[in-house]
Structure formats: C-alpha cells, structure tokens
C-alpha cells in the first residue's frame, strides 16, 4: 500500500518475510483456484442446461424457476429453517447451561466433560444410525417403554412426516452440544476471578452476573461458536441420509441432499448448481452483514 513512502534504504516490502510468503503460495492458490474459481464456475453453469456433463448452453433463469417450483426444494428449505433455528437456539442454550454447571468446581469434572464431548467424536453417519435405531418403533425407545407396561406409548418421530425433522434435530443436538459446552467452558475459564468477587461484593445474584456481565464478556467465544454451528447447519446432509434418507416421502429432505440427488442421480448438473448457488446466497446473506460489522465499519471492538 504505502510502498512509495518508505525510505530507499529499506528493502522492498514485497521481499520481506519471503520464506513465509513462498510457503503460503500453495494455500493462496488453493483458495483462489479451488474455492473462488470453483464457486464462480458453479454459478456460471447454473445458468446452463447442463445434464450429465457440463455444457455451455445458456438458458437464463430456467433452472431457478424450476427449482422454486419444485415442492421438494420448498420442503427442503423449510426443513433447513426449522432445523437451523432450533439447533442454533438449543445448542447455544444447552451448551452454555452445561458449561456453567460444569464451572461450579464440581468433582469429576474431567469425566463429565469427556462424556459430554464423546458424541462429537462420532461421525454424523454413526450418530444417524444410532438414533435411527433408538427411534425405531419396533426395537427402540418406543418398544422399551411399551414393554415396561405403557402399551399405548407412541414415539416414532422418524416415521411421522409432521415431526420427522425434530427426530433429526435430537440426534444433531446429542452430537453437537458437547463441543459447544467445551467452547463455552473455555470462555468461562477465561473470565477473571476478580469479576466474580466484585459481583459477589455488590450482592448481584449469580444468574444476573452470568447474563449481564459474563455473557457480554464472552462475545468472542459466542461468535466462534455461532460460526461453527451455522456452518454445520447449512451443510447438514449425512445425518439425514443415515437416519431417514429424506423420508418418509420427502418430509425430511434438506437442500444439500437436493443438490447431490439432482447432480448425480438425476444427471441434471444445471439444476444441482442452481440449488447450490441458492445455498451460497443464503450463506452470504447471513455472513456478509455480520462480517461487515465484525471486521469492517471502521471502529475496532475487542
């Protein structure tokens, strides 16, 4: 930027830290060519009628019109909204509460932390299968409760089109809250002891201290957590495939699955690209204003 203002005696700005710059060339290339290039390529081809193989025959917004006419896409978007909102709220709330409880200097904290974090070590496919079995009415929770004597007990979310997405949400929360808890716990540990002492001296109840003092101080941790959860939400795919394959009918379809199915099973790349471009736009709508507030806007907040 300020290259011409530097004194002639200093070496060229571009050559400073040359080793580090050379070392980062592969990553820069990857980012530009693969991420940015791939994204642009996808968006361009979403305006074509590519079928099995990409073809540059432009058809305008046809793919998008068809996309927003397709009942399956609409169901997918709706499911993602429900899943997204609830998983965001619940994993933040449950994760924070667990972390706050864990922060009370309890005994065996390590053990509890390991147990809570354990599900996160499993892949979504395994989580999906485990919960598919647990929620199966013939040998899961329902049959256990029935065998205990409650003959009419019914709990089969995966086979009920109206609530199937909540069945998937349960599995996602089971897997994801452990990580949120750990992040939150790390944030809580970073709070200075003196703040707690000051609050106690002032006679502020503990819950008030948490909400009005501690949480605002943990802003950075919350934002990190939010980004991790949100990226997990948009790309949810394997969990659905393992638990329901989108069923019953199309009741638990999600956008990522629509993209895959139309690109590869229906051999209609254009349609799949249009759907993935819509996903990109959704992410951009959420990320851009936030990034602007966080990194731009002139004033620096820490």
């Amino acid at each position: 930027m300020a290259g011409h203002t530097q004194s002639s005696g200093r070496p060229n700005q571009w050559l400073r830290n040359l080793n580090a710059k050379i070392a980062s060339v592969p990553m820069i290339l990857t980012a530009v060519v693969i991420f940015l290039g791939g994204t642009i390529w996808t968006v361009v081809y979403s305006f074509t009628n590519s079928k099995l193989l990409p073809r540059l025959t432009f058809v305008g917004f046809d793919q998008y019109e068809r996309l927003w006419d397709a009942p399956r896409w609409l169901v997918s978007v709706q499911n993602l909204a429900i899943y997204g909102i609830f998983s965001l709220i619940f994993s933040l709330v449950i994760g924070f509460v667990l972390a706050a409880l864990m922060d009370q200097k309890i005994r065996f904290e390590n053990t509890f932390r390991t147990i809570m974090l354990y599900p996160f070590a499993l892949s979504f496919i395994v989580t999906g299968l485990v919960w598919q079995w647990l929620l199966n009415p013939e040998f899961g929770i329902q049959s256990v409760v029935r065998s205990l004597g409650w003959e009419t007990f019914t709990f089969d979310p995966l086979y009920n089109a109206d609530i199937v997405i909540y069945g998937i949400l349960i599995a996602a929360l089971w897997q994801g809250t452990g990580l949120v808890m750990c992040l939150m716990l790390a944030g809580l540990r970073g709070i200075d002891e003196d703040i707690w002492k000051a609050a106690r001296v002032d006679g502020i109840p503990m819950w008030k201290t948490y909400i009005f003092v501690i949480i605002p101080m943990m802003r950075g941790v919350f934002i990190t957590t939010l980004v991790i959860i949100a990226s997990g939400i948009v790309k949810v795919y394997d969990l659905v495939v393992a638990q329901t394959s989108g069923g019953p009918g199309i009741a638990s379809e999600v956008p990522a699955k629509y993209v895959y199915d139309y690109m590869f099973q229906a051999q209609n790349l254009g349609q799949g690209f249009a759907a993935s471009t819509m996903m990109l736009i959704t992410v951009a709508i959420i990320i851009v204003p936030w990034a602007y507030l966080e990194f731009g806007g002139g004033r620096k907040r820490v």
Binding site: L52, L53, P71, Q265, Q267, N268
Partner: protein
C-alpha cells in the same frame, strides 16, 4: 471350505500385482448385492474366468441410485472400470455422446446380436447413431404382483387373482394385523409401483402416449385419473410398511407379514433364496392380473473406452460371454429374470418365469420407463410418488396435476 476360499482370495490378491498372467483382469462394477443377485453375478464371473481372464468384482451396495453416480464419476473422472452395469436405455446416453464409451458394433456383427436378441427393442436401446454400445444381459419386467399365500390364509380369504380382488381383500388382511401392500421407503419403489398400475389399469396405448410421446393432455386426462385413484388405494394399503429396501419389503411378503408387493421380477430371486415355491408358497400375477403385459427394461453392460490393449481384448471376451447361451441360462435362472435371446432353453424355469416367457413370446411387451424417460424426469417422478405414498394429505387430483407437469417438461 470358507477358509480355503479365503486362502484362494489371498493368493489372487498376491498374484494380482505381479501381473504375470497374459490375460487381463477386468474390473466390473454393478449394484447386484442382495442374496439372489449376488448368486447370479457369481455365474457371470465364473463364465468370464473360464475364458482365461479374471473378473474383478466391483459390487457397489445400495441399489442403482447410489451406485450410478459412483460409476459415472469414475468414468468422467478418468478412472474407468473395465465394464459396468447400467439399466439399458438413457442412463449412459450422454457418456456415449461424450465419446467415453466403447463401440461394440464389431463384436455385435461378428456374433450376430441383431438376430439373436429378442425383443429387438433391447438392442435398439443400446444403439446410438447406428452403433451398438452395450451388451444386454437380461430382461426385467416391473409388472408383477407378488402375494403371500400364507398371509391370505391367516386372514381367511382366498388368494386374489387380480388387483381389484386384492383391494377388496385388504380390510380382512388389516384385521389380521397384516400390512396389505408392502412398499419400501426408497423413492424408486413408489414410482415403479405407479408405472405398473398405469399399464394394468390404463393399458398399453395410454402408457406409450404418456411416457413415449410425452403427451401431457393424456397425462392430465381421465384414464390417468383412474390410475391415480388406484394409487390412492395402494397408498392406503401400504400404510405401516416402515422398511426402506425393496428386499426388506419382499421379505415381509415371504414371512407373511405383508399380503403382497408390487415389484419387478427380481423379487423372485429372494423367494427362491428363501426356499419358497411359486404357486404353493407365493403367487405371482403379471400385469397385476388385469393386463398381462410386461415391460422389457433390464440390465446391460457398458464398456468404457480403455487405452490398455489387453484389457480392450478382455472387454470383447466379456461381451461375448455375456450373451453366450450357457451364461444366459445360468445367470437368469439365479436372477429370476428372462434371457435376452429367444433361442435358449429354460426348462428349469419356475411357474412365474414361464408365465413371463409366455407373455414375451406373445409379444405383449412395452418399453421400460428407463428407456423412455431421462434420468432427470425419472427423479422428478420419484420425488412426486415418494411424497404421494408417504403423505395422505395430497389428493390424487393434485398429484395428477403435478404428474402432468413433469410429463410436459420431459425430454
């Protein structure tokens, strides 16, 4: 025995990298993984190994919907296998047009496929711009209703002879705690069942007009409305199936937990594997007992263009092995499908297969939907019918409107 075959496998695994054998190893990918299917594919491997080459099995589990994307991305991604299964028809159309598949016209003329393959439409589906690109191996027809004799006995009603009797018997089955009609959760099953109902109820000409000519007026018309009415019955009868895979649904029929299933003749392999006998343990009704017409879709092997000369030669050997009369008989008996050549003797065929051969000889055949519709339209149809079958709140009228839209936009 097990140990020895394991040892043999190890031995081949060691021998493979040496590549000393003059004949080539050919990787063949397919999605035949259920019990009956695996037994059938072993016959193909045996016949091919007998030519001195080596069959490297590349089975991909999870039915065609899962397997095809993997196969296609291997071919388009520059890592082609030696040969691969597709349903002949339009699934590989673009791969051929892009010049990725091998032209088999030489082999076909040498072995006179034009004369031996019956019905001729099978070879037509392999032909693009006058060149032959695939070797058909079997004929599969969708139009079968499989009924469990035991289930009807439990319910105290006679085994139905056609679709209407079956619908009438449904309440009795339900009272006995039996699901009348098993329809698995995989989307293609619901879509396939609808196609079968269409042939049976609306007839051959309507089927051809809708899927062949893509006539949207017919698709929105009264004939198809009747079909949707029947699909509505089927939807009611399938409530409580709760399984995903087709063979699990077939298993419900085998064990008498379900009254019947609309499924292609590949279901027969499962009945055979379970030791059941046609006529006494189960009953098959071609064309749902209404309209005895079968479709002639099926499986074919396509051969990607390879640079390796040895492997190309092995491809030719495989192509001619697949249509060899002996292989045809051995394979199709295990698979429960019909042979692609009219001149082989299927004396060992069971009742159901004989019924199928009979219909085939009479020429009461239609093309399969895989041959008539693009994969894209098929997928849209699957979305519609899997939703329709799972969600009772969609009226048959609404579904028909959406169906007509799909046909109007089909290529």
């Amino acid at each position: 025995m097990k140990l020895r075959s394991f040892a043999a496998m190890l031995a081949t695994a060691v021998a493979l990298p040496l590549g000393a054998a003059s004949a080539a190893d050919l990787e063949v990918t397919h999605w035949w993984t259920s019990g009956g299917e695996a037994a059938a594919v072993a016959e193909l491997a045996k016949a091919f190994d007998a030519t001195g080459n080596h069959w490297v099995d590349g089975a991909i589990a999870g039915s065609g919907g899962t397997a095809r994307p993997i196969m296609i991305s291997r071919i388009t991604g520059g890592d082609p296998m030696g040969a691969t299964q597709f349903n002949h028809g339009r699934q590989a159309e673009e791969l051929v047009q892009a010049g990725l598949m091998r032209d088999l016209t030489d082999v076909a003329t040498r072995e006179k496929w034009k004369d031996i393959v019956k019905p001729a439409s099978l070879l037509d589906s392999c032909t693009i711009d006058g060149k032959i690109y695939c070797a058909p191996v079997n004929i599969h027809s969708w139009q079968w209703l499989w009924l469990s004799n035991a289930a009807f006995k439990t319910a105290g009603v006679d085994v139905p002879k056609n679709w209407d009797e079956f619908v009438a018997a449904a309440p009795a089955l339900e009272k006995a705690g039996i699901v009348p009609l098993a329809v698995g959760g995989q989307p293609w099953q619901a879509a396939g069942a609808f196609d079968v109902l269409m042939v049976a109820i609306a007839g051959k000409d309507t089927f051809q007009k809708v899927f062949g000519d893509k006539d949207e007026d017919v698709a929105a018309g009264p004939e198809i409305a009747k079909v949707f009415k029947a699909a509505d019955d089927a939807r009611r009868m399938s409530k409580g199936t709760n399984v995903q895979d087709w063979n699990q649904a077939t298993n419900m029929v085998i064990t008498g937990k379900a009254g019947g299933q609309i499924m292609g003749d590949w279901a027969q392999g499962e009945f055979a594997l379970a030791g059941q006998k046609a006529g006494t343990d189960y009953t098959c009704l071609p064309g749902l007992g209404v309209n005895e017409i079968i479709s002639t879709g099926g499986d074919a092997f396509y051969f990607p263009l390879l640079k390796d000369e040895e492997k190309s030669k092995a491809q030719e050997a495989l192509a001619s092995t697949l249509l060899d009369p002996k292989t045809q008989v051995a394979f199709n008996l295990k698979k429960g499908s019909l042979p692609v050549r009219g001149d082989v003797d299927l004396a060992a065929a069971n009742d159901c297969m004989k019924k199928g051969l009979d219909i085939l000889a009479k020429g009461n055949v239609i093309q399969g939907t895989d041959q008539l519709l693009s994969a894209d339209s098929q997928k849209q149809k699957e979305d519609l019918f899997s939703e329709f079958f799972a969600n009772p709140s969609i009226t048959p009228e609404d579904a028909q409107k959406r169906f007509a839209d799909i046909i109007a936009n089909a290529e």
